[in-house]
């Protein structure tokens, strides 16, 4: 039997094409997520073993113990800071990439920009450890130039975490910004300058507003990824950094308290969704003001 409306059958049949992906996602993502959600409502017994039954006590702990809720606030603040830093650092690089004509040099620059994504996160992070350790390149330079008598404690510090996480996530801001800036019509710049605007005014009144979708996308991606990041802060900053990813890792690997780890994970997920929605809302208001 064929469809009376042309294309409808094809569309209908088209749903079958996504079925394998849907089954894959439901089986390997949604089902474990639901089970994790169920675990977050489980009481714990001796040695923190999950018990049958339902309780809100794990969420109560997450939202009343400063050890947990303090880490959520610090994580959100860190993610916001990293998102701002990534956009600020990515913009000039993306601008340079977008303005360059297609060619070997542009391809080479692009490969350099995305090269961190092609390297294992552990290798990248250990690069920072090698640079910032007591006998690392930075400390050797500080001591050799007489700026310090003793090596500085650069590792296990919060600034080191922010620097390393910004480095790891920078390509996620550069890529959408390059796409947004590359798609701009150059005639608009010429029109702006023909009408008397200088390069700075053209950049601020034409380029920046038109590249806003790239800024928004880059900032949101970096923010969401920074909310859940834990290996880089763990290796560079140590387990004492008050970030939620590290707290979850600790609860699973050393305290063996899975229900509170699950509750903390869902609190982080909720905070990420709400913060991302708020940020998107703020950007939308900004965009409306710019475009009238």
């Amino acid at each position: 039997m064929t469809s009376a409306v042309p294309g409808t059958g094809a569309v209908r049949r088209g749903w079958w094409y996504v079925l394998p992906l849907a089954v894959f996602l439901v089986a390997l993502f949604l089902v474990p997520l639901v089970r994790l959600l169920r675990l977050s409502f489980s009481p714990v017994g001796p040695y923190n073993a999950a018990l049958p039954g339902w309780t809100l006590s794990q969420y109560a702990r997450v939202f009343t113990e400063p050890y947990f809720y303090g880490s959520l606030l610090r994580t959100a603040g860190t993610a916001l800071l990293v998102a701002v830093l990534c956009v600020l650092l990515a913009y000039p690089a993306a601008y340079a990439l977008a303005r360059r004509r297609a060619g070997v040099l542009r391809t080479l620059l692009f490969v350099i920009v995305i090269s961190p994504l092609l390297t294992s996160v552990v290798v990248r992070t250990y690069g920072w450890v090698v640079l910032l350790s007591g006998t690392g390149v930075v400390n050797r330079a500080l001591v050799a130039t007489g700026l310090r008598d003793q090596p500085a404690q650069l590792l296990t510090s919060y600034p080191a975490v922010v620097i390393a996480v910004t480095h790891v996530l920078l390509p996620f801001a550069i890529i959408p910004l390059t796409t947004a800036l590359g798609g701009l019509d150059r005639n608009l710049h010429r029109a702006s300058q023909t009408l008397g605007a200088g390069p700075v005014r053209t950049f601020l009144r034409v380029t920046v507003p038109l590249s806003l979708p790239g800024v928004v996308t880059g900032a949101l991606i970096v923010f969401a990824l920074a909310m859940g990041i834990y290996i880089t802060p763990l290796l560079v900053g140590g387990v004492t950094q008050p970030l939620t990813g590290i707290r979850v890792y600790d609860q699973v690997s050393t305290v063996f308290d899975y229900p509170v780890a699950a509750a903390l994970s869902f609190a982080l997920l909720a905070l990420t969704v709400v913060s991302t929605a708020l940020l998107a809302g703020v950007f939308r208001i900004w965009e409306r003001r710019l475009h009238g």
Binding site: Y67, P213, T217, Y230, S253, H291
Partner: protein, 370 residues
Amino acid sequence: MKGGLTRLAGAGAALTLALAACGGVDTGGSAGTGGDSGGGQGEQRQITVTAFAGAWGELFKKSFVEPFERETGAKVNLVYGANAEWLTKLRAAGGENPPFDVIAFTPDASLPAASAGLLQPIDTTALTHWKELDPVLSGKSAYQGKQYGVPLTTGSTGLLYRTDHVKTAPKDWSDIFDKKYCGHVALPPLTYNPGLEFFSALVTSEGGKLSDPAAVDRAFTRLETLKGCVSAFPANAGSAATVIENGDAWIMPFWDGRAFALAEAGSPIGFTYPESGPVGALTSYFVASGTKNADLATKFLDHLTAAQNQKPFAEGTWYAAGNDSIDYSEPFEQKVEHGPEVFEKFTWVDYSVATPKLNEWQQRWNQIFG
């Protein structure tokens, strides 16, 4: 433009989710390789055994697994990893069809596993070498009057130090508070075993117990004197070795075996067994509840506890073995303190008290050093 913003933001969100799900950015993930532990008549019997990843695991393979396979004809599927992932998988199995037959655990993980029924009591009469095993160490894998495991080796947590910077070897735990080391102390957090072992030593060296809040308060007051003096907070064996070897720290509470191994490799490292008593850091082996290979698992434990098998492993790792009848080599005897009299003096972390309190204590610790 608004449509462009929405499309880009949507694509970004999808990319983020995809990357997070695939672990492309910053996720851990481990690849467990649980073996097929079935086996009927006529087929080669198989058993799945866990071992700590790294040099420890490689030596375990040579010392125990390969000889066992040669002697019995059985195949041992060795799964490398660590406590946390093995306990997670045992909890997921819930005592039925466990992914491992024989598991290595330190007491912080074995007690939760035994209390949840994930490990099965062992029949010590089936173990040829049971009477050669140290009773203090064996007692640490007993739970509610039943024997669950056999001791493999025990480390002693004491003071590891750089011999080129620390001219006079420290004698007791109190030496780590000496102001001349200020700025060069490495302190593992309480959520890493040596950190909790050091904290336990602080509590017990003054006659207190972890279950006594006043004694715990005194230990924290003592720790506060280290504020501003700690240069590193290593939370795993790799970073602990790194901070000592690269000079970030000169003194650190850590295990004797690791210290002697670093010294053997040429690093200027010394180790002190504190006068008021080092803290025991034991590794024992257990049989999982619900295994279909309980007979072969018991045979493996028997093989694991034999003096001739434990000797090369102990000497290779620089950790004292659970079997007291071993005749160690001269270099080992000169360095590693061991034997019933030594183990009797050990301080042990009381995990029945420490585990429920760990978050609270770590929070207090963070308020000092965070």
